[in-house]
């Protein structure tokens, strides 16, 4: 009985996990504006792709006999085993199988991934499988790409192509609290997932793989696949993971593929994504070969979808396929799932749009309307990186002439000096929203960079802009601390402040300097504040020097009165004849500020990209 409850838990949590697969990677879905079309084609890579299917995690199953599970410590193994049975059962009894699994590609031709990439990976493995062991130094390939671009599937298909056995590390399902309590009650010790992973890697590294059934005669060659690195929380854990993987890269004898999912720029404000990047870099430096998979092109997705449609014998129009493909943003797993959903209940999805009488494919606007209707169901949320958003705001691109379309009803009559040409972008608030911009950092970034974009003559503009910043700062700081509890109110204020700052920049900068290369800098303000706090602490510590320690002194008095004098006296005393009165020691200068939410590397991005947007 207990076991069953357990397994139920396992299924639940693993379901969650699969869901999560889609979430963190939400990339581009579809927007309503005509521009977004070009936008999407631009972000999608140029190469055509082959069909592919999701890389499944714990789906070692009857489909692919080559898959073979290792790396689960004994106690997990049992559970997992029983779970697989249960899931298989329930899968059959409940609904039809997920198409993503059902239509998994079985041959290289079926893969939706770009041929060149597949070829690259294939030849890499070929080299390693054919030659005798020990010849090659690097036995690790790191494959990165967004979720749903076919990383795992490619490896699986290649493995089956070579007849190699795929030995997979699947991250164990996370232990949830009830489970943990249950386990401790029954006396099972908790091992962290990272520990398990490290142990596994160590074993592999030292002993290679000991085939589970040693009776097998013709040993097939083995490919080690590490899908999904364990979560690391904190620097220590991460360093451990890194060193463990580095060891693996340096000394493994097995051809190994490590898959890393990229997250979207905009979502990468947290450390994990950055760390993953760092990890990849260090692995590459250690000699691993790196292959990046691009999002899958619309055409290959469409091809795959129509193949599935043929096999499933459901009729979906070309246009609908097109929409699904576009909505998926290069994530084929998402596309297939959408297709399945669509085929289950076709009425539900497109009804609204079809019933609109004006519907016709000829007009772009209508398609857009349709898309916006659909995107609610199919599309992934479109995100922009903060940098693109900032670039948009700062470059302040506007139409060259007022569109005639403005009806008299729409337009306020404004004085000429207040009127501006229409923006060449969505409403700033929307752009902000897509970039997940928080008011404070956005304001700081704009403040740091905007002066570069104002032409040299336009002093008034500079004032306008900075006065709007001042407004926005007021909004941001009102009730600071007080309203922390009432999040709603705070949110409104925050968005208002961001909006004021952004629109202030857009409105104020009426004479933008001619477009040229600009690097976007990280706000110096952050560093300044940090050093200021540091110095302030110093001063607070020193404030008792005055009054002989019998009383304390205001910070400002110390800073403006005592400090300059003391500095001066010291200089005299040590014979400094430095009349440059300002020798500010800025101790914290060297300290890195990269912990401040948005990081250094962003300042390196820059140039062309910004220019382009």
């Amino acid at each position: 009985m207990r076991k069953i409850r357990d397994t139920n838990l396992m299924i639940l949590s693993s379901d969650d996990e699969d869901d999560c697969d889609y979430k963190p990677n939400s990339h581009r879905s579809y927007t309503k504006k005509p521009k977004s079309r070009s936008f999407i084609t631009r972000t999608n890579p140029r190469q055509p792709k082959k069909p592919r299917v999701s890389g499944s995690r714990s789906r070692f199953s009857r489909d692919s006999p080559n898959l073979f599970e290792v790396g689960f410590p004994e106690e997990d193994f049992e559970e997992l085993f029983s779970w697989s049975k249960v899931s298989a059962d329930s899968g059959r009894s409940n609904v039809k199988e997920l198409w993503v699994d059902k239509h998994k590609p079985h041959s290289l031709e079926e893969l939706a991934v770009h041929k060149k990439k597949v070829e690259e990976v294939k030849s890499w493995f070929e080299e390693r499988l054919k030659t005798t062991k020990g010849n090659l130094i690097n036995n690790v390939v790191v494959i990165n790409g967004k979720a749903g671009v076919g990383k795992s599937t490619t490896i699986q298909v290649i493995a089956s192509h070579f007849g190699a056995r795929l030995c997979e590390w699947n991250t164990p399902t996370p232990t949830i609290w009830q489970e943990h309590v249950h386990n401790t009650n029954t006396g099972i010790q908790y091992t962290s997932k990272l520990d398990e992973f490290v142990n596994f890697i160590e074993k592999i590294r030292k002993y290679g793989l000991i085939p589970s059934s040693s009776s097998e005669d013709a040993k097939p060659s083995i490919i080690l696949l590490i899908d999904d690195l364990p979560m690391t929380n904190g620097r220590v854990a991460f360093e451990r993971l890194q060193s463990c993987l580095l060891h693996l890269v340096r000394s493994t004898q097995l051809p190994t593929a490590i898959l890393v999912s990229d997250y979207d720029e905009a979502d990468s404000a947290d450390h994990t994504a950055r760390r993953l990047e760092q990890l990849q870099l260090s692995l590459e430096n250690a000699g691993a070969c790196k292959v990046s998979f691009n999002p899958i092109t619309n055409n290959s997705i469409k091809k795959t979808l129509s193949r599935i449609c043929r096999q499933e014998q459901c009729s979906v129009t070309d246009e609908q396929l097109d929409l699904i493909a576009k909505g998926s943003g290069g994530d084929i797993r998402h596309a297939i799932t959408s297709l399945q959903l669509f085929c289950v209940k076709p009425d539900l999805v497109l009804n609204g749009s079809y019933s609109t009488p004006s519907y016709s494919y000829g007009k772009e606007d209508d398609i857009d309307a349709l898309v916006s209707g659909i995107s609610l169901l199919f599309g992934r949320d479109e995100t922009l990186s903060l940098f693109h958003a900032l670039g948009k705001f700062l470059h302040n691109k506007r139409e060259t002439e007022v569109a005639n379309a403005i009806t008299p009803g729409d337009a306020f009559l404004v004085q000429e000096n207040f009127s501006r040409l229409p923006l060449k972008m969505d409403a700033p608030e929307k752009v902000l929203c897509q970039a997940h911009g928080q008011a404070r950092p956005v304001t700081d970034f704009l403040h740091e960079n905007v002066l570069d974009f104002i032409s040299d003559e336009a002093m008034d503009d500079a004032w306008h802009v900075s006065s709007y910043f001042s407004d926005s700062d007021l909004l941001l700081s009102s009730f600071r601390g007080m309203l922390a509890r009432y999040n709603e109110a705070e949110n409104v204020l925050q968005s208002a402040a961001a909006s004021v700052a952004v629109r202030g920049v857009l409105f104020g900068n009426s004479h933008p300097s001619p477009p040229r290369w600009h690097a976007i800098r990280k706000p110096k303000l952050w560093q300044v504040e940090k050093s200021m706090l540091h110095n302030q602490k110093e001063i607070v510590r020193q404030r008792f020097i005055a009054y002989n320690g019998s009383s304390s002194c205001n910070v400002s008095d110390v800073a403006t009165g005592y400090m300059p004098l003391l500095k001066w006296l010291e200089h005299r005393a040590s014979g400094f004849e430095d009349n440059q009165a300002l020798v500010y020691c800025n101790k914290t200068d060297g300290e890195s500020c990269d912990r401040m939410g948005l990081d250094d590397k962003e300042s390196d991005i820059s140039d062309d990209e910004i220019e382009e947007w």
């Binding site: 040299d456 900075s466 910043f469 700062d473 200021m532 320690g549 205001n554 005592y562 300059p564």
Partner: protein, 354 residues
């Protein structure tokens, strides 16, 4: 030891500058009780000196035996507990602290400390329950909430403790608090008074003061006694015997501000604004309070400005000073002021010289 501290009057009898106030205070405390007090006045006018002398008057020399303590208060704020760390100076009879160090959590500090002090009241020699004195610095920097809670605790525990509040500007202290305290305004000392103090110190140190020298130091001091004594000492280190035309070294940050000022006057463009921003950052890093920067900047600018612009520039300085107080990041407002000035000045230049 710096002269500022060395020649600081220890008792109310010794003061040179605010003799009248000192007399009044002395009378006040000889009755063995004193009301809550609010000292206000510009910096360098002698508020803290008077407070220290007053404490000594009340409690005798024991008020001078203080220890510095770094304490953590655990505060139960509804759903969570907050740990607050603050440095206090305390003797057996008084506690001194700057609650504004705690940032926006200052209100908790005010409440907790007063409550705690009220709990253990000292008992004086006659077995009568005495009172403790709490000295709060920089009351004008307290948030509005903190001031409100200060008001309530003041009433509740008035039997067991007396508050001495100290601030630069009473306008930032709420009416409610002001009306509960005896307000003592400490003027900035007159230049003659400063000269007197400087001559007194000179005599004690056995220095030869050339005629007019003390007056010049006083003149440069902006009527801040602290400033005057500090620069007096600097001069002493710089060159002794004094010559009557000896230069009085200015504060480094003030020089820097005037440098910024001439930058602004020389060119008005976004690029220059950006450079100015960098310099303002320098000042802020060194903890020069933004209000003081703005004030100094304005006075430097006014020196070089045409009559007709002065009014407008002052208006904008006041405007942005106000916003700076309301806002969070001073640089935004400082910069906005500089930008506004540049824009006004540029328009003026164009209008005048075409």
């Amino acid at each position: 030891m710096l002269w500022v501290d060395k020649y600081r009057p220890k008792t109310l009898d010794q003061v040179i500058v605010h003799q009248e106030t000192a007399e009044n205070l002395k009378k006040l405390v000889t009755e063995q009780d004193c009301p809550h007090l609010l000292f206000y006045g510009p910096s360098g006018s002698g508020k803290k000196t008077l407070i220290m002398a007053l404490l000594r008057q009340i409690f005798g020399t024991s008020a001078e035996k203080v220890k510095v303590e770094n304490r953590t208060w655990k505060i139960d704020a509804g759903s969570r507990t907050i740990d607050l760390e603050l440095t206090t100076l305390s003797s057996t009879n008084h506690v001194e602290l700057s609650p504004s160090d705690a940032g926006f959590q200052d209100r908790y500090i005010v409440q907790e400390i007063i409550k705690e002090m009220a709990k253990n009241r000292p008992i004086d020699t006659k077995g009568k329950k005495g009172y403790k004195v709490l000295v709060l610095n920089e009351v004008d920097k307290l948030s509005r909430e903190a001031q409100h809670s200060l008001r309530r605790t003041m009433e509740k525990y008035s039997a067991s403790c007396r508050l001495i509040l100290c601030c630069n500007s009473s306008s930032k202290v709420t009416e409610a608090i002001r009306s509960r305290c005896l307000n003592v305004r400490i003027n900035a000392p007159k230049e003659e008074q400063i000269v007197k103090v400087l001559e007194f110190i000179g005599k004690k140190e056995g220095l030869q003061l050339p005629p007019g020298f003390a007056a010049r130091v006083a003149d440069k001091s902006n009527r801040s006694l602290r400033r005057a004594i500090l620069s007096f000492e600097t001069c002493r280190v710089q060159q002794y015997p004094f010559s009557s035309n000896q230069a009085i070294p200015p504060m480094d940050w003030e020089e820097y501000v005037s440098e910024i000022c001439s930058d602004i006057m020389r060119e008005q463009s976004p690029k220059r604004l950006f450079q100015v921003r960098g310099k303002l950052y320098e000042l802020l890093i060194n903890c020069i309070p933004p209000e003081i920067i703005l004030k100094k900047l304005l006075s430097e600018l006014l020196k070089k400005l045409d009559e007709e612009l002065k009014h407008e520039v002052c208006h904008w300085a006041a405007y942005y000073e106000h916003r700076m107080r309301m806002g969070q990041k001073a640089i935004f407002h400082l910069e906005a002021f500089v930008a506004k000035f540049m824009s006004i000045y540029k328009a003026f230049l164009i209008a005048t010289f075409g």
